[in-house]
Symmetry: C2
Subunit: 274 residues, 2 copies
Amino acid sequence: MNRLTLINDALAPADQALIHVSDLALQRGYGIFDFFKVINGNPVFLDNHLDRFYRSAARMRLQPVMPADILREKIAELIAANNLIQSGVRITLTGGYSPDGYTISHPNLIVTEQPLNLPTSIHEQGISLITFPYQRQLPDVKTIDYLMAVWLQDKISQAQAADVLYHYDDCITECPRANIFMVTSSNVLITPANNILKGVTRHRVLEIAAGEMKVEERDINKEEIYKAREVFITSTTKHLMPVKLIDGKIIGTGTAGETTRYLCNKYNQSVYGK
Amino acid sequence: MNRLTLINDALAPADQALIHVSDLALQRGYGIFDFFKVINGNPVFLDNHLDRFYRSAARMRLQPVMPADILREKIAELIAANNLIQSGVRITLTGGYSPDGYTISHPNLIVTEQPLNLPTSIHEQGISLITFPYQRQLPDVKTIDYLMAVWLQDKISQAQAADVLYHYDDCITECPRANIFMVTSSNVLITPANNILKGVTRHRVLEIAAGEMKVEERDINKEEIYKAREVFITSTTKHLMPVKLIDGKIIGTGTAGETTRYLCNKYNQSVYGK
């Protein structure tokens, strides 16, 4: 249980991974991160996650501390040292120790690894979502800002739902940590194109679906998704998760649909290499 | 230079004030704070700041670690130990060390003190503001979320402005760290009432103005503020600061107006006890 964390360029015991309180993440909520899974020592879709991490850093004007090839080596070192069977790795980059508590400084890079349980088959029981009007700031950047998401936990559990689905100007966008897809009765796969974080699992699902069915990336109206034949969400840890209820309205037959099932199996195969 | 910081219930040397990377402030930008000034060892408007701090904590479902009377004692201890002539004290309360990196846990309380230069007279040269369409999430809570404000620093300096003024649905609301006031040609003092953080300096200015002039707390249209006779912003560190330009448009005569000057002097007197 002597897990390690990378802080800037040094490995430290995970329980001694500390940063000073003057960091801009703690002072002003300013930072980015990315998160990928590791199966039997192999990072899954690492290129996509690192690409997004460096894009997020650039958009937030944060110097990424080290170039991608060095970061890749450090991550490999961390994974080898921790030797977990399945894990999630989070790479965080903060605004750094700011002399005035406001101006971006030299960032701190923090890479943590935790054990993770991943699904191997489709989750038969779909989940419930409630919608909430909210637009994330800088939605194309994977910032550390989950203030609204954490704040809404109480409302979500009161509604006996699993998560919240944001909408804005009548268009649904995303869950705080997942993208959303719908399937129409004529088997068109639709996912929002705008004002969202483009997830790596979302990208992979779109790749799998291409050529197999009609695919559209466009705005989705709230009324439209209530009438979908199938709805599912995608994320690094959840893979494809069927949605049975949105705002108490049953989606399709209220069970995992045929297209969701097909895409989920294909996705799981690509992750586990079967 | 052996300054101290309070972390939970213990004083630590300021440069050794560390928190673990699993804190929800760093992981998810989840936390609140308040900030007050200290003049010759005396906290200014401490009651108002502590009231707001405990209200912010309750709204964010954070246990405030200790009751207000104990916190007040600890703050007094910190101020006495640091013995600075003029300072700013920041009380931060985070989402705590979260086992899953998402759920609110037992908060961390961090109280830091820094030297501070305060104005003693009106700033003769007013500042420039640029407007930007943005609405802070949970605007009535003093959260640590300044992501947009920090991100906009580049745009602000490119426009050779001092700060940004947020507006939403055509109504101006606030600067990231200051409230805004306007004075009409018939000497009515107006400040936004909704979707803002109600500042302690704002409150004090409204108290001073009451009975001396007509005062309105209501929505202010962007076009309306461009035509104001005087505009100023208020904050704990800036006191009253005249605004000479908004989006490149000259406000009134482009110099500190009579009402601003009057309220600023009265406010400074109440702070310095002259």
